[in-house]
Amino acid sequence: MSRPPRRRQRVPLALLLPAGLGLLFLVLPLAGLLVRAPWTTLPRRLAQPGVLTALRLSLETATAATLLCVALGVPLAWLLARVEFPGRRLVRALVTVPLVLPPVVGGVALLLVFGRRGLLGSWLDATFGVSLPFTTAGVVLAEAFVAMPFLVIAVEGALRGADPRYEEAAATLGAGRWTTFTRVTLPLVAPGVAAGAVLCWARALGEFGATITFAGNYPGRTQTMPLAVYLALETDVQAAIVLSLILLTVSVAILAGLRDRWVGVT
C-alpha cells in the first residue's frame, strides 16, 4: 500500500476549477443548514423527548441493519470474489439493484414479499404469528435492503485487492476453506469490511423511502430521524433543521473517525 512519491507541480486549472465547484456544490447546502439553524433555541429543542427517541431508534436500527448486512454480506462478497460459478456476473448485478432502485419502490417490493399478504409474509404470519411491517424489525429490514450493496461492493473490492498467495499458502499447509477464511482471509480484508460496514451504516442511518413505505411511521417504534425530519418539515422548518443537524453531526463524526482507514484500503 505504498504510494508513488508526489512531485510538486502546478495543478492544472481545468481540474482545479471543476474540483472547486464540486466541493462548493457539496458544502454550500450544509452551510445553508448551519446559517439557518435556530442556534438560540437549540438546547431547548434538543431536549424535547421526541428528538432523542427518534435519534436512539435511528442509531439502534442502523447498527442492527449493519450487523445483519455484515453477517450476510461478507459471505456473499466472498462468494462473488473467490468462487467461480455460472451466472456470477448476473448475481453481482442483482446485488447492486437496491442501489439504483428508488427506495420507495424497494419498500413496496418488501411489502409484496414480507407484508401481511406478501409471498413470505403471509406464511410467517400464519405459521409464527410474525408480522414485520410497522415494527422496528421492519425498519431494520428496510435499511438492510437498501444498505447491503454498499457493504458487498466494498468487501468484494477488498477481497479482489488482497493477495491470494496467503490463502494459497494456508491451503498448502493443510487448512480447509473455512479455516483459511476465518484465519487468513478475514483478517486480511478486515479494514475493507470495516469500511463497508461504515458506508452501510451511514446509508442505513439516512434511509427514508423504504422505511416509511415498509415500516410506516410511528414515534418510538418506526419513526427514525429522517422520517421525523420529513414530518417536522410539514409544520416547523426550524425543527427539521435541528433534527438534520443532529443527524449530520453524528454521521460526520463517525465517518471522519473512520475515513482515513477507508482511504488506506482502496
Binding site: A14, G216, E234
Partner: protein
Amino acid sequence: MTAWWIRATLAGVAALSLALTGCGGADGGSSADRGGTVTVFAAASLTETFTTLGRDYEAAHPGSRVVFNFAGSSALATQITQGAPADVFAAASPATMKTVTDAGDAAGTPAVLVRNQLVIAVPRGNPDRVAGLADLVRPGAKVALCAEQVPCGAAARTALAAAGVRLTPATLEQDVKGALAKVKLGEVDAALVYRTDVRGAAADLDAVEFPESARAVNDYPIVVLKHAGNPAGARAFVDHVRSDAGLAVLTAAGFQAPPSR
C-alpha cells in the same frame, strides 16, 4: 492541444447555454400566449379531480398548460413559503393555507372551494365488519392514520376525540394517499381517509361513514399566489374550478359544495 481543449470547452458551453435558453425559451414563449403554463400546488386528496379539471381547462384554453404538484398540504405550504414557483395553492385545511397567507405569499383572500369529510376505508366487502370508530380499537386491529401535521391527521384526531376513542395506530402516514395505500395493500385493516379518496379507489375499498366525522369537516381553501409567474392564467384556473362545471366534477367525486353557495 491547448487550442483543441479551448474549442471543445467553448463548444460544450455553447451547447449547454443553448440547451438552457432552449428550455427557458419554450416556457417564456408559451406564457406570452394568452394561456401559458399554470403551476398548481394542490393537496394530495385533490389529485384525481384536479387532474380532470386541469385537462378540462386546457381544452377550454387552447395553448395553455396546467402543471400540478400534488402532496400533503403542509409540505406544499412549506415549499411555497420557501419560494417554490407556484401560481395557485389549493390546501386541504385552513390551517395549512394560513401558513401561506401569514407569510404574505397569497394574492388576496383564499376562497373555500369545497369541503371534505373523513370515512373509514376498509377492504372491499368490509371483512372485519367495521361499523364505526369504536370497532377500530378491537384487539389486533391495525389502523393507518395521517400524521397530525397534515390536515387529514388533524381531522382524524378531532373525530377520534369527539368519539372518545383512544386509538394507537400502526402508522402515521405523511399524506392521505399513504394511508390509503396501506389499506389497498392489505397491510392495515382500516384507515381514516377522506370520502373522496375511497370513492376514487372503489374497486378495492369500501367507505364506512361515521357520525363523528361531521365534527371534523375540512374546508379546502384555494388562492392565487402573490409571486405567480402567470397571474392571469392562475385567476382563470381558479375561476374554472370554482365554476358550476368545476364544482360538478368535485361533487361527483364526493366533495361537498361550500356552505356559501
